[in-house]
Symmetry: D2
Subunit: 286 residues, 4 copies
């Protein structure tokens, strides 16, 4: 029987999902958001921010591999990486798999949240927060990008909450912010952002895409089904260097191998399939 | 406020979805199954069998294009087509887009259901039931296949309910049935089946796949997100002729053009991305 | 498994109920309200207005006996009765059980709704609409009361939707309206109104009670649990004649017997228990 | 918006309720049952055992006053009291209001649960566990009753989980157990038990009632709406002494006053209304 503790989540105004909670490890409010860390039946340990499931133990690898490896592998030699958001530490974990990486700066506004994820989400960060390559900055990602000098990073990864799910994230999808990103990227630099869902929230998606297009010469869109989201999550990669978005499947596999990257899902074929499939931007509900 | 009439659907034992009903057009039980045809907020007209949403006006094209065009386009010249199931008429609609098709036999066990879909799901079948190329057989698809003589069809499309959702469909995923399909296929023949969901229902998926593998020399797996299903729907194509599963994107686009096929989603790139992405067969829940 | 068609109803902002729909007989919108007539698992045929369950076959007798018989039995000789609302016809059915009744005027604003209830809710009205004592007026109850001359009725029964559930009903809980009621009541006349729920909606309840108190010299409050409402439904009886609200249990039983009234629940003891129990007006949620 | 953490509770096989959780203070499993202590929106602090809400801060006084004061007030001079169950300490709190009480034995099988309620449910027990009149026994109530000698108690209060909600409670509704109760009661002794819900679970209710009837000469039934239960909760009082079940409202008020009992709801009128209202035992669902 489906009863007891439930997470009731709004996928869209016309679609709710219900998950079964086995245990609640944390239920609090930081300065910035409501934070819940729970064990779900079937999905395992999960992070919930402002009532939206961000990651579950069962399927977070799909999200994090799909966010991180396309830009990391596309770049010929990513050494300095910037992550904005990514509090679970799983984006960091994937970045560090690339042996060429020398330095990762991770900026998250919510230091209290990071303390919780370090404590409760070990299955996600796998100790990545201990890496000597990491410089963890508790602060405003927008401000950090705007104030950093030029030519600092090879890859910038925006692992944010959805623009429609919270107020924190909105300015992190703006033209000004993308110009800041462009400024701190080195030659051949690549950025990627998660971008919500283009089927149920086309307007927010289109606005983010338009903003990126205004700033970067080249842009690639892709999406992947994340079971605990109930939908395909969208991503947008961008670069001013066409060659940084043009890797072949074979070359991707070679780079992964050379950099010692082991994944559960991502490889050269998956990379190509992501970029060829064609996302759906749905603007009409019935 | 999310209230009023709701469809509460079990995606997995640990995940429910709720849709909002605007209107109920039909709520009955045929000899074979519970049938509901409703208008959903956001998703439009929808067919529900035994409490599982089969198709909605909003997104059925994703399912039907992804089911039909990969095998139809892979085959060099499909003239005689067999559809088992597909009561909405939308699979038929997509098949008929290929101008090379001369004859479609569609076998559905539930004649009463077909009457309802013809009446209420015009947005899905778009009048396809009127085609002179169609021979509609109300009967048991299993029996039809077993009793048809050899070398009858170029493409066989199995548009069935999930093996775990109803008793009707189970034998339509069996080795015996696939051997029957093989028998009625002509040289270069291709079959495709929808195959439920390999993430939440791995066992049923693996059993179907194993059964197909026992019978056919070549097999391709793919999946695609269907918003109203809440998950990626799996498909399996099979053929004894490797060349019938090896089309290039360019050749696919050429065939579509030559046959006058217009689609909303499917094209050569989409075809390739489907086959390269790698599906996930999940066997461990937490 | 609790799945399929559901009615999701808001009992309070902090409490929802879900019922299982077996069949939908009607789902429409009249000029005045959304109307659904469904068969519920467990509760049988049900009338739903603007997403609130009004009556179910299983338990409507509790509501209707508790609304009608306290005022009817309290009055020494009710001959002319006015019902405002009561579209199911079940209030009418209970009134007609009192053989002393000579005339019932029933005023409901929604003629289309009455057509539906006559057709689909035979288990509720039990043919009461055919009574020769009935004068059915399709029109605005407020206007009817205001324009009727004085001294017309012995008992007035207000069988309305909740003041907080729809806009239609609000003026039917106003001081002006109660003064109109007072005007059309004869000596010894009694009125009764259903009054929502004083536990979850104290403000609406208190406002109605205050308005009645301004107009009538004597007032009695009672409530009873209606299973399909999920709460105790409140009622308020009022009269300018103290003796019309002061019946003993024995006298109540005698009057029922003399008038040939047969009930499933109501009797003299029940009458007294209603008036002695003390309702709860809850003004503080946590 | 009704979303986030939810308690989904089965009121009956055809009716679910959903409450909104603000905070989870405890979520564990003792040797005997699942225990959750949460803060609910609207209802405040709540105790949940095996997925059934037992008590909420908002409305527990309705349940506990209605359970305790009818038998306590009916008895002319209750000095020695036995409570079986009642882990929240609120039954104890109400018993101790009667100044004539000299000794209360409270037997609960789940010592771990008592530790939690003492810690988290101060608003319910109000420090009653500190009373010098209390002897708290962690142990099997059935065994305790069977092994206690005769003529020990004036009032026995069975504050149990429902017979249909858990296995623990079943033998505490048996003939053997009621014979044990009869044995330990002194002359004029009275027992009371909560008895689930006679509308949705008639069979369990009737079985309990029949068992009591076999053992005691006199029996009184009553029920009261408990908002967080979603239904009227039934109670059965029994005694071999008719005079112990025959108090008048005036005498009840006098006894309350003499014993210094202050209540929010219970008084002589409420007592009488409980006993006169007539409960509904529903045996037919539709």
């Amino acid at each position: 029987m489906f009863k007891g503790h439930i997470v009731l989540e709004e996928v869209s105004p016309d679609l709710l999902m219900m998950f079964r909670i086995r245990n609640v490890l944390l239920n609090t409010r930081t300065k910035y958001q409501e934070v819940q860390i729970v064990d779900l039946h079937g999905f395992g340990r999960a992070l919930i921010l402002d009532n939206y499931i961000q990651s579950t133990e069962l399927d977070e690898y799909i999200y994090h591999e799909t966010l991180v490896h396309p830009p990391m592998t596309s770049h010929p030699n990513p050494m300095d990486i910037l992550i904005i958001g990514g509090s679970e530490g799983a984006t960091l974990r994937e970045v560090l798999k690339h042996s060429c990486v020398e330095r990762v700066v991770m900026v998250d506004i919510d230091g209290e949240l990071i303390e919780y994820t370090r404590k409760y989400l070990e299955t996600m960060h796998k100790g990545a927060f201990e890496s000597e390559k990491l410089r963890l900055v508790i602060g405003d990602g927008y401000k950090y990008v705007m104030e950093a000098g030029p030519d600092q990073f090879d890859v910038v990864i925006l692992d944010l909450t959805d623009p429609y799910s919270s107020e924190i994230a909105k300015k992190l999808y703006s033209v000004e912010f993308y110009m800041g990103i462009k400024n701190i990227l080195r030659p051949y630099g690549v950025m990627v952002t998660q971008a919500g869902n283009s089927f149920f929230y086309a307007d927010a998606y289109l606005e983010a895409r338009e903003n990126i297009r205004e700033v970067f010469d080249n842009l690639l869109e892709y999406w992947a089904w994340i079971p605990s989201f109930g939908y395909n999550c969208n991503f947008i990669m961008a670069s001013d260097y066409k060659e940084s978005l043009s890797i072949t499947p074979d070359e991707a596999d070679k780079r992964l191998s050379k950099r010692g990257v082991e994944t559960r899902l991502y490889n050269g074929d998956y990379h190509m399939s992501l970029l060829k499939q064609g996302i759906i931007v749905n603007r009409e509900f019935l």
